[in-house]
């Protein structure tokens, strides 16, 4: 662990915001078709265009928004929708905790504003940047904002113009996010110390994916890997 890492942590600057924005942009473009798919699916379910766009703006978490559409029947079952939203997004809890060493040096108010745009892709990119010495928390904000913009734009196109895109898997877009996370993982590889935690995470996630409601396998796998990592540290 680098000494004094925390001392340099915890500033937010426009340079960081711009930097995060620029670094995320080429990948964020790929989010547009997913936004279009969501917007079109929402209209199909009888959600008004305005509400679909509002959902993307306020919720800003694709997987949970698609899950909510599955439950979008009259009368609206509010509690199941909210519980599903929580289950699908519970992995954010781990993302936030993992960012704590970085964000702990920001004042709480700033910290809780920054995580407003926290999502998997910008968290992954920022984690990689942190590993290579980035300490400007503006990076998270900028990379989050660009994702928010393209998600919103995509939703608006899908909701207002409609979509002839059909099944995105036909174009291979469904593998996008998996492959993207894979490329980030390669950057995070630190050597043999990672083998056991990663095996634990993979095993636990695969088993949990069969046994638990949607979304929880990420939480179970992440915790399993984290715990193995902490235990190995003791030896």
């Amino acid at each position: 662990m680098a000494e004094g890492g925390l001392r340099h942590a915890g500033h937010v600057s426009w340079r960081g915001v711009r930097n995060g924005f620029r670094r995320m942009l080429p990948l964020a473009i790929f989010v547009v078709p997913f936004g279009i798919a969501f917007g079109a699916a929402a209209i199909e379910k009888g959600v008004s265009p305005a509400l679909a766009i509002l959902m993307s703006a306020l919720v800003f978490a694709g997987a949970s928004q698609f899950s909510a559409l599955d439950l979008w029947t009259a009368p609206l079952a509010l509690i199941p929708i909210l519980l599903t939203t929580f289950a699908v997004n519970a992995r954010h809890l781990l993302l936030g905790a993992a960012l704590y060493p970085w964000l702990s040096a920001c004042p709480p108010r700033q910290r809780f504003a920054i995580v407003g745009v926290l999502s998997d892709p910008n968290w992954a990119l920022a984690t990689k940047a942190y590993e290579s010495g980035e300490r400007d928390a503006g990076f998270l904000v900028g990379s989050g904002i660009v994702l928010w913009i393209v998600w919103l734009a995509g939703t608006a196109i899908g909701a207002l113009v409609g979509s002839d895109l059909g099944d995105l898997s036909r174009y291979g877009f469904d593998v996008l996010i998996t492959v993207y996370f894979l490329t980030i993982l390669i950057g995070l590889w630190r050597g043999r110390d990672d083998v056991l935690p990663w095996l634990a995470a993979a095993g636990a996630a695969v088993v949990a994916a069969d046994l638990l409601p949607p979304g929880w396998y990420v939480v179970v796998g992440g915790l399993a890997g984290g715990i193995v990592g902490a235990l190995r540290h003791d030896r």
């Binding site: 990948l27 704590y100 898997s169 174009y171 291979g172 996370f181 984290g226």
Partner: protein
């Protein structure tokens, strides 16, 4: 027919729940004393969350996603370019599915 007010309430509720998941992790972690061991936990947690996202998607996905992931992994290791790896991965998945489509 779902009343617009009811739908609006659901969206606001979803937004609140989702924000709670985003803020909750940072908030809970603030009660943790950062020792070398918790730091090891958080570091392993970062990469393990990604492993937990990626591995089930490949294992439970179709052959096209597995092929795409394998080829993309190779491209990433050789070129170190995420964009190259992702582009090749998408092309492999699409080509694989078209090939299957032609055969069946």
């Amino acid at each position: 027919m779902i009343a617009e007010a009811e739908a609006l309430l659901a969206v606001i509720g979803m937004a609140a729940v989702t924000y709670a998941t985003r803020a909750g992790g940072v908030w809970l972690a603030s009660f943790m004393t950062i020792t070398p061991r918790t730091e090891a936990f958080l570091r392993s947690l970062s990469s393990s969350v990604l492993v937990a996202l990626v591995v089930p998607a490949i294992v439970k996905g179709d052959a096209a996603s597995a092929a795409a992931a394998t080829v993309a992994l190779g491209v990433m290791i050789v070129t170190r370019s995420a964009i190259a790896a992702i582009t090749v991965g998408i092309v492999v998945a699409a080509a694989w599915r078209h090939a299957i489509g032609f055969m069946s």
